[in-house]
């Protein structure tokens, strides 16, 4: 299990495969105020999509430069995507 759901936070660790997108989605739907802690080596696009769509508070570091430069800002962005 690489998506770890805590009381007020959801931790992503290790290699988060595509199938864990569902777990992340349901955890965030149940507790939208949870913050998401990024501590993973790899995060599959499916999980990034959940984060971009639901835009929770995200702390921690992205596993690669592309997600740090271009995906994290999307999640933090206040306005919805065009």
């Amino acid at each position: 299990m690489t998506v770890i759901v805590g009381e007020r936070e959801i931790r992503l660790t290790g290699r988060c495969g595509v199938d864990e997108a569902e777990a992340l989605l349901s955890a965030l739907s149940i507790a939208p105020q949870s913050r998401v802690v990024l501590a993973a080596e790899h995060v599959h696009t499916a999980l990034w999509q959940v984060l971009v769509a639901l835009r929770p508070t995200v702390i921690g570091g992205a596993p690669d430069r592309f997600s740090a430069d271009y995906i994290l800002p999307l999640i933090a962005q206040k306005d919805a995507l065009p």
Binding site: V18, A21, L28, S29, P32, T45, A53, R65, L81
Partner: protein
């Protein structure tokens, strides 16, 4: 692509390069008449070559460019930038068209418009009016133009735009789009949008890909294309090839020229050096052992070992890259066969057709070139001895036209070339009587021969099954010549035949003279290399487990009785048996064989050098290799030794 067009592609690249160099020189030194003449000649020649093909837009633009230069030469006027620039733009455009032609086989769909614009521009150059830049941006797709427009700070020259629209179902095929994007080198800009608006969490399907990526990279277009190669339908890549003509530097040609011609000897030098590098890497094993013996040297030894592994990986990559350069498609040789078959058909009066498949498969140039001769003999033999005269074929209910098929396929690291004919096949009785008549075998031996042994006789030197020695296959170019030339390439030949329906000869060859895994064995104090590929396992058995079967030895391994040979006897330095024997178990074809050796040493990877000089005449030597400590050892060709 046909030969003529392939040649044109090479020549066109050279001519545009030449003309562009001349024009750039003229830009600095407008009075240089030699350069002007040279540019004119190059463009004139290019126009002539273009005329061989149906490439009207190119023809038109080149014609105008040639006119412009011709005028300058006749009127003895200096070319100024207003005239040089449009010609350079034409050359650059020609280059692009030729590349498109090479890749797709046609001109880009926009070629006609672009060509017309260039002709206009050239005309304006002739009138010496300041030229607008009619082609700038004209070739970029709209999305790419928008992407560049949104980033005016990025220098378009050399930048590549990409638009990646992952299929909604792509996660199910294992795609991870963000991961792919993270792998794009030299990214300078990216933006992400969505296919459709995000739904509420309740309806949101996390397994549908909804993102669209647009980005600009400064990396080479080919490198980016390689990343998205498996999803050509989801990716669009564009680069602004029509750079502002006034700043067309010489180096821009380097980025558009995709092939260079290199002397094969220079590539071989590189391959040779890689081999040396490999040897040097193997030498590090001794360092690992030495370090282990030091006080507290374990960590050092581990580090050296790890480093050796890293270097090994890099050398292997380098070796692959170097051997790749020598890879050419088989089609280069196979194409020559169709002319051969036409010729033979004319000579023999037998109507023939040649069916070739697998021409796209690649192998080392030496192997591809070396295949022509054996294929030629095989096909001649097939027509001579296999394909029946037209009347006979009709009686047999076969199509009048005889078919020769040459099909290549890749099997692991080998290629298999099957040459088949639909002729009469080979009568075994015929082989027997011919061999008998030629004194190759005795009458009892002939009667006892099985089918495959019988066919093997075809490879005996000087064998010819035709009653009359014909013009074509004649004497002395029998199957023995085929086998020996294929062997020189590291290959094998097998034959199968069915009376009445035809004969198939299969050549199995390596794709390249690649690295071999070799194990060192000791026999009577000497070390030899043995290729690992033929070794199934190594076992140690008590001497008592070896049983005598008539004059031969054998032992039982997992319910299988395996004959034993002593390598010492084969290399001519027999040693007495001992209480426990070390055996290499070899799998050759369907049979197994135990080979007794005195000791087994390290295993390593090496680039085998083909035997040279005196060794070439020695049977059973695959090649030589250099050990880490500089000693040269012989690598044995077990199959030849045991044959």
């Amino acid at each position: 692509m046909d030969d003529l067009l392939a040649q044109f592609v090479i020549e066109a690249a050279e001519l545009t390069q030449q003309a562009a160099e001349d024009l750039l020189a003229l830009d600095c030194e407008p009075g240089n008449r030699a350069r002007l003449d040279s540019a004119f000649r190059a463009i004139h020649t290019l126009k002539g070559s273009v005329g061989l093909f149906d490439l009207a837009p190119m023809q038109g633009a080149l014609h105008s460019a040639e006119d412009l230069l011709d005028l300058a030469i006749k009127d003895n006027v200096e070319l100024d930038p207003t005239r040089i620039d449009p010609i350079l733009a034409v050359l650059e455009w020609i280059d692009r068209c030729v590349q498109h032609l090479q890749r797709v086989g046609t001109l880009p769909p926009t070629a006609e418009d672009e060509g017309a614009k260039l002709v206009l521009w050239l005309a304006s150059g002739r009138a010496v009016t300041p030229a607008p830049s009619p082609v700038a941006g004209g070739t970029l797709p709209q999305w790419a133009a928008k992407l560049f427009d949104a980033n005016p700070a990025i220098h378009r020259n050399g930048a590549v735009a990409l638009r990646y629209t992952p299929a909604p179902e792509c996660f199910f095929s294992g795609d991870d789009p963000i991961s792919l994007m993270a792998g794009v080198p030299e990214l300078v800009f990216a933006r992400i949008s969505t296919r459709e608006n995000w739904r509420d969490p309740a309806e949101f399907d996390p397994f549908r890909s909804n993102l669209i990526f647009e980005a600009i990279s400064m990396a080479k277009r080919a490198d980016i294309e390689a990343i998205f190669r498996l999803i050509p339908d989801q990716i669009a890549i564009a680069h602004d090839a029509t750079t502002d003509p006034s700043e067309l530097p010489a180096e821009s040609h380097e980025t558009t020229t995709r092939t260079i011609r290199v002397d094969l000897a220079r590539i071989d030098d590189i391959v040779g050096l890689v081999g040396e590098l490999l040897t040097a890497k193997n030498g590090m094993s001794a360092l690992v052992t030495q370090a282990q013996l030091l006080d507290g040297g374990l960590a050092l030894s581990r580090n050296v070992a790890a480093l050796q592994q890293d270097i090994g990986r890099l050398v292997a990559q380098l070796q692959r890259a170097a051997t790749d350069v020598r890879m050419v498609p088989l089609g280069d040789t196979l194409r020559r066969l169709s002319r051969l078959v036409r010729e033979i058909s004319g000579q023999t009066g037998k109507p023939l057709q040649l069916v070739v498949t697998g021409g796209e498969i690649e192998a080392d140039k030496t192997i591809v070139d070396g295949l022509y001769e054996p294929l030629l003999h095989i096909i001649r033999n097939a027509v001579d001895h296999g394909i029946e005269p037209e009347e006979q074929r009709q009686i047999a209910g076969k199509p009048a036209k005889g078919t020769i098929s040459v099909s290549a396929r890749q099997v692991g690291h080998r290629i298999e070339l099957a040459v088949g004919d639909d002729g009469r096949g080979i009568e075994l009785g015929h082989i027997r009587s011919t061999a008998l008549a030629r004194g190759l075998i005795s009458a009892e031996a002939a009667a006892a021969l099985g089918e495959s042994d019988c066919l093997e006789l075809l490879f005996a030197p000087g064998f010819s099954t035709s009653e009359t020695v014909s013009d074509l296959s004649g004497r002395g170019v029998g199957m023995d010549a085929v086998r020996s030339s294929v062997r020189r390439l590291g290959g094998k030949v097998t034959i199968s035949s069915a009376v009445g329906t035809g004969t198939t000869i299969v050549l199995s060859l390596p794709t390249s003279f690649a690295m071999s895994r070799v194990i060192l064995v000791t026999v009577a104090g000497e070390q030899y290399g043995v290729p690992m590929e033929s070794i199934a396992e190594t076992v140690r058995i008590p001497a008592s487990a070896i049983t005598q079967v008539r004059s031969n030895e054998a032992f039982a391994l997992r319910d299988r009785t395996i004959p034993i040979l002593r390598l010492g006897d084969i290399v001519g330095s027999g040693a007495p048996g001992r209480s426990e024997e070390m055996l290499l178990v070899l799998e050759i074809g369907a049979s197994a064989l135990g080979l007794v050796v005195d000791g087994i040493g390290e295993r390593f990877e090496t680039l085998l050098r083909p035997p040279a000089g005196l060794l070439r005449a020695v049977r059973g030597i695959l090649g030589t290799t250099v050990l880490g400590d500089g000693r040269i050892i012989m690598v044995l060709d077990l199959e030849a030794l045991l044959a």
